[in-house]
Symmetry: C2
């Protein structure tokens, strides 16, 4: 059985008690450095693999501090506090002395309680009814794009050859790993970053843009992930505000049975 | 001129190159430990006061790791990476060996760029037209409540003596420091946590609940804060999902001229 490219990309090997080493993967290359979602998933993986870890991820904040070059890196994963039912992790990803990302992760034990999903699942066609968008990695299309299937319902990737400024920045799409892979907390962390920069849509044109900080809240439990398997998840993203060189993004990732799997937030640098 | 109780509560004194000491303030006591918003503001203040700090806050994530007892505490504020236009901070608040909170903060230099507020300012009456809710600290009402003025437009604090479960968890209110204090990044970090737990509203009854992790994005710049002064800000909060002992909250803080000052997100533990 071959290893899925995602599992290759997030692979870590213990290097002492509170550290791991890994390496960037060409399969998930973005324009500069790796796709941010895979950096987030790799940081989460360091807490996940730590011998002191218990429970499931509740929240992950990743701060993209500096460029990550192709090649090996090291992650320090330190439990700042271990409680009976929650764990607080600090994570730092570095190449040599240069810190490329910092992160905090909260793990917790879920219990049976009252539950309710207040946010409404959008009215959308089923994934199979939405056209598959072919975006082959190559000139101007980074490799990681080939590692996801995109079925865009609205707010699809703009056509920069025919610029159109949009009145809102919302994107709604079905997506999954390509090749398909059963979803877990790590790939959920990855797919939370799947949306192109909202500024591209509002302005209808390309500008240098990159995520500065990304927070993902995990609403899914093991059962929800097991139910979802390797089918498409629904992603919805929008912005609240752009200005001063930064914009934000709020996103939801839904299972195809209407279970809210994750909500995710980011601040994005843009040039102009 | 007397010092505002907020400035007393967040006061820090340098204790070595990368650390500060402070103390909890009775004026901002919550049921157990200090009001979370003041803990968040105090952590941000440690980065703010650091000699290596430049630029304005873009994002702050605070993880409430353990209880904070009345008395002194120490904050380590370490610049994980300093770039030309962004700074990445790791912050840790401890009493003795016990870590009570971890945080990351991103600071950045804002530049003149294209700007747009995509999220709509809600249609609400002016602050002066909304009834002031008197909630005097005392039996069951923690001290910090007295440090804010609450003018609730909808989704006000539930009357637990006449329980009513609400179909949604939205709260909309005007608030400001009491006594009034010109808003800055630190008090903006504080007020981002002003909303009572969303679970109280959905279930119409009290349950033990506490914030586990809080992320605030600062959309305001110096000019927006100066324009706002000490007038009321509009706060809006709602939840997406409750279950497994945890719920979330998304919130916005608006200036009264319609400028989006901050968006804020949290995961909240609840007992049942």
């Amino acid at each position: 059985m071959s290893v899925h490219p995602f599992d290759t990309a997030i692979r870590l090997v213990a290097d002492g008690d509170d550290a791991f080493v890994g390496a960037t993967s060409p399969a998930y290359a973005n324009m500069i450095g790796p796709y941010g979602g895979v950096i987030a998933a790799t940081l989460l993986n360091a807490a996940w693999l730590h011998r002191a870890r218990s429970g499931e991820p509740l929240a992950l904040t990743v701060n993209f501090a500096g460029p990550l070059a192709d090649g090996p890196f090291r992650i320090v994963a330190r439990p700042a506090r271990i409680n009976r039912s929650t764990q607080h992790w600090y994570l730092e990803l570095a190449q040599g002395e240069g810190v490329a990302a910092t992160a905090t992760a909260v793990f917790g034990a879920r219990r049976e309680t009252w539950s309710s999903t207040e946010r409404a699942f959008p009215a959308v066609p089923r994934a199979e009814e939405v056209k598959l968008r072919a975006r082959t990695p190559g000139a101007g299309v980074p490799a990681f794009i080939g590692r996801f299937e995109f079925r865009e319902i609205h707010g699809g990737f703009p056509d920069f050859s025919a610029p159109v400024a949009a009145p809102d920045s919302e994107t709604c799409l079905w997506t999954r790993d390509d090749p398909p892979r059963p979803i877990d907390y790590l790939s959920l962390a990855s797919v939370s970053d799947i949306f192109y920069p909202r500024i591209f849509r509002r302005r209808g044109r390309w500008t240098p843009a990159s995520t500065v900080t990304l927070t993902t809240y995990f609403h899914a439990d093991d059962a929800a992930l097991a139910r979802q398997g390797d089918r498409h998840v629904l992603g919805v993203a929008r912005a609240s505000r752009f200005g001063g060189g930064y914009g934000d993004q709020s996103a939801e990732i839904w299972a195809d049975d209407g279970t809210l799997l994750a909500t995710s937030f980011q601040i994005v640098y843009f040039k102009e």
